[in-house]
């Protein structure tokens, strides 16, 4: 198995994305994909008519989230990336902030490390 790790970071405060990416770049983490996403409740309230009445439940939360996917070469770089994100974004244990986790990488193609 590769030593590489996949970092998955979902941030709800998307106005902080720029700062997060700049901080990662500053630390030498240069590869990441950014995806637009919507939370389950936001999606259901907006797209499934039966649940439209629950729109008020998700008022105040951002209508869209951002997902950062980054493959890093090893666990030390992963730790650096997570610490860096948390240092600029804030505490993920607070409500309506987001989540961050990692996955081991198995077989891969196209990775340069």
């Amino acid at each position: 198995m590769s030593k590489a790790k996949l970092l998955v970071c979902i941030i709800e405060k998307e106005d902080r994305l720029e700062e997060v990416l700049e901080a990662l770049l500053e630390q030498g983490i240069t590869g990441a994909s950014i995806l637009d996403a919507r939370g389950m409740f936001e999606y259901m309230a907006d797209e499934i008519p039966l649940f439209a009445g629950f729109r008020a439940l998700v008022q105040g939360s951002n209508p869209t989230n951002k997902i950062i996917l980054s493959v890093v070469p090893d666990k030390d770089t992963l730790r650096l990336a997570m610490d860096t994100i948390q240092s600029v974004y804030g505490d993920f244990s607070l409500p309506n902030t987001g989540i961050m986790f990692s996955l081991d990488i198995g077989d891969s193609r196209g990775l340069s490390f």
């Binding site: 499934i48 008519p49 039966l50 649940f51 439209a52 009445g53 629950f54 729109r55 439940l57």
Partner: protein
């Protein structure tokens, strides 16, 4: 989740008469208040109307699932109305509505149980065979049996 926790046979109305959607809601709320006298008829009606203003709860195929959170409701109540005559409900598929599941939920911070019940009902109504069984039920007992048998 099985619905037998929330559906009581005594809360199923068969051949319920309503001239139109407005008439239905008025009669439905009156009926619910007759079961729960501490519920306020006007407030409940207002809540159901407000929800319908957001978007019709007529989900299609002759089914409507109007639902509200009501501060005086302590549990999650479902009343079932098999209409004597199908009525226009401004449903998404424009088909008249024959069967109504009215849900009154107890407000909670996440409303998770209310959402679970709604999702369960919506999923149930996506099965054509089950829907046929419900609409073909000839009395309250068979409608109830069909509903609680569904896994």
């Amino acid at each position: 989740m099985k619905l037998d926790l929330f559906i009581q046979k005594e809360h199923i109305r068969f051949r319920f008469d309503a001239a139109d959607k407005t008439d239905f809601f008025k009669k439905m709320v009156k009926d619910i208040v007759s079961v729960y006298p501490d519920f306020e008829e006007e407030r409940l009606l207002e809540l159901f109307y407000l929800r319908e203003e957001t978007m019709s709860t007529g989900i299609g195929n002759g089914i409507a699932i109007p639902h509200v959170m009501y501060e005086k409701c302590k549990n999650h109540e479902i009343f079932v109305y098999r209409l004597a005559k199908a009525i226009d409900f401004a449903a998404l598929d424009k088909k008249p509505v024959e069967l109504v599941f009215a849900m009154i939920g107890a407000p909670s911070p996440s409303n998770i149980v209310n959402l679970q019940i709604l999702a369960k009902l919506a999923l149930m109504m996506k099965h054509p065979d089950f829907l046929d069984t419900l609409l073909a039920a000839e009395n309250r007992d068979s409608l109830y049996e069909a509903l609680i048998r569904y896994e």
